[in-house]
């Protein structure tokens, strides 16, 4: 069975190994170059931050494309597993050998699932090492950058495994390769993008709340809900959850009330304070990075197991 699994899926395994080697090599080179450039400046200086920011920007614009990786895993590891067998009729060959259908499916699900997870862990480690070079930057440290969050740590492994299980189930239900791929793509991106747009990650833990004392930094762009310097007031690497104003009784300000001071552009904050309003912010501190990583991984792992269960039921039932 192990030989058969390898023989049928070796192309996928080799492509992923090749990708990890290339991506790892490129990021290692980039990280070393960054370290070299940054070392010319003393720690904490603006020059050093400028260099790190520029170097980070070279790669971070590509981060959005890493969403395609779990999708590809779903398409090329997950869907063919069952859909191709059903489509070509080879399941009738595979499932009438002495190795039982459960044995066949068990080895494939566990073997390929474990391989995908290991590859995802390797990818997360590579990205994590690279991102570590930029830990001094507010835009990349800790939880501040969710685009980075999903490609570092254990999150990518969980996403890869989830996509693999999703593709497998799509194949079990549609029993044809192209429809299974279409279902996999649509469902995967709905969930993946949904995790960003629904901001579900902001609520993996009760946020830390701070009130008042927002420093005034003149000249920075600002909005009424996020006074000048509000983000900068948060600890480095924190993930902003919510911010706004509360009145004396601690009740969040309803829309429009803050306009009492809106015309006093320069003394806006002073006006608000004089009227007894306090600014508040809720955020997730950077040291919750691993808590959030394991929460995300746990949720996705549970989803993957549930999907695997559906595939198992579908295959072993008739």
């Amino acid at each position: 069975m192990v030989w058969l699994t390898w023989r049928q899926h070796r192309v996928q395994v080799l492509v992923v190994v090749g990708f990890l080697l290339v991506a790892g090599g490129l990021l290692l080179a980039h990280g070393m170059r960054t370290a070299g450039l940054a070392d010319a400046f003393a720690a904490g200086t603006d020059g050093r931050k400028a260099v790190l920011g520029k170097q980070f920007g070279q790669v971070s614009t590509l981060l959005i494309w890493t969403a395609a990786l779990p999708a590809l895993v779903g398409l090329f590891w997950g869907t063919p597993l069952l859909a191709r067998e059903y489509e070509r009729g080879t399941h009738r060959l595979a499932w009438t050998q002495t190795v039982s259908r459960r044995g066949w499916l068990g080895v494939k699900l566990v073997g390929l699932g474990a391989t995908v997870t290991l590859a995802g862990l390797a990818f997360g480690a590579i990205m994590g090492l690279w991102a570590g070079e930029f830990a001094e930057l507010r835009s990349s440290a800790g939880l501040a950058n969710l685009d980075l969050f999903v490609v570092t740590g254990v999150a990518p492994a969980a996403w890869w495994l989830f996509a693999f299980a999703l593709g497998t189930v799509a194949g079990a239900l549609t029993r044809a390769l192209l429809p299974a791929m279409a279902v996999t793509l649509v469902v995967f991106f709905t969930v993946y993008v949904g995790m960003f747009t629904s901001q579900a990650r902001l609520h993996y833990a009760t946020p830390v709340r701070v009130e008042d004392a927002a420093p005034v930094v003149r000249g920075e762009p600002w909005s009424i809900n996020t006074p000048p310097g509000a983000e900068a007031r948060l600890p480095v690497g924190a993930l902003m959850v919510a911010a706004g104003w509360v009145d004396r009784d601690g009740v969040a300000l309803a829309g429009g009330a803050e306009w009492t001071c809106a015309e006093q552009e320069n003394d806006y904050l002073k006006c608000m304070r004089d009227n007894g309003y306090r600014w508040f912010a809720e955020y997730q501190p950077a040291d919750r990075y691993w808590l959030f990583q394991w929460t995300e991984a746990g949720l996705l792992f549970a989803a993957a197991v549930a999907l695997g269960g559906i595939a198992w039921f579908r295959v072993t039932r008739d």
Partner: protein, 297 residues
């Protein structure tokens, strides 16, 4: 007579329609069984139930006394599905390796010898072989498993006449060598005439005929005579098929082995396998099944 394959009240329903209903069968060991019936009769469903690809909605099916599709039966049954599925990207050697890894009873030497005799190169991709060669590779994978029961679903479909002959010859050689039981389905009766010794006719999801082919042929007669006497004759024999013109009647009847005494205006002759099958298929309500026997405890 030991029964190798037994079905009792076997049925399979897909949503609302029964693909196979109330099917009871008992097939002795060592037979080469022809499963015939029109398209959609339920042949594939029955075979899939036997090899465990489907689970019954009603009744049971067992091989070697064990429920179909369990690990114990799968070790002793080989199945060649319709369209002879193989992994196109595998080489012929890979297909043998597939069989070796998935079957403890695998006979690698048998597989290699058979392919060598057929001059099928081991390093060729399966997808690049001709249809006849693919059928032979699929049959080799089934035979090298050393099954006690070989189940083949339309093994001759989509093959040219020469390939049909070659596949059938290879199959019969293996049967002669091992004495295994074979069940093969077809909707072309002429393919099976000289190779099979047991007949099962399946029609509209029901078993119409199950019996030894020689006995079946001996029990059935084709009676031809004047139409005005036909009703009297039909009342005396068990008629399978009855076709009449204004003047003449032709009855295919199950007369039993005993000689019939009829008006000399009637001619009586034996029937061929194809005639017999067609007569039953035309009359789905007719049946020729073994008379009830006491079940062994």
């Amino acid at each position: 007579m030991t029964s190798l394959l037994t079905a009792t009240g076997l049925g399979k329903r897909y949503r609302r329609t029964w693909a196979l209903k109330d099917c009871s069968l008992s097939i002795p060991a060592g037979r080469v069984v022809a499963l015939v019936g029109p398209n959609g009769a339920g042949k594939t469903t029955l075979l899939h139930l036997v090899v465990g690809l489907l689970t019954p909605t009603a009744g049971t099916v067992s091989a070697f006394g064990e429920t179909g599709g369990t690990a114990a039966t799968l070790a002793r049954v080989a199945f060649l599905a319709q369209d002879k599925p193989l992994y196109d990207g595998f080489t012929v050697a890979d297909m043998l390796r597939f069989g070796r890894h998935l079957n403890p009873r695998w006979d690698q030497e048998l597989g290699e010898r058979r392919l060598a005799e057929l001059e099928i190169p081991l390093d060729r991709k399966v997808g690049k072989l001709s249809g006849g060669q693919q059928a032979q590779v699929a049959l080799t994978v089934a035979l090298a498993k050393q099954p006690d029961l070989l189940v083949l679903d339309e093994p001759l479909a989509n093959l040219d006449p020469l390939a049909r002959h070659e596949v059938m010859r290879g199959l019969m050689a293996a049967v002669a060598e091992t004495g295994m039981t074979v069940v093969l389905s077809s909707h072309v009766v002429s393919d099976l005439e000289n190779t099979c010794d047991w007949l099962v006719v399946l029609n509209r999801g029901r078993v119409q005929v199950s019996g030894d082919i020689e006995e079946l042929l001996a029990e059935h007669r084709l009676l031809t005579g004047p139409a005005e006497l036909a009703d009297g004759v039909a009342a005396r024999v068990s008629t399978v098929d009855d076709s009449r013109t204004d003047r003449q009647a032709t009855l295919l009847a199950r007369t039993g082995a005993a000689a019939l005494s009829l008006d000399p205006k009637w001619t009586v002759r034996g029937v061929g396998l194809e005639e017999l099958v067609l007569a039953y298929l035309r009359r789905p309500e007719a049946a020729s099944l073994p008379r009830p026997v006491l079940a062994r405890a």
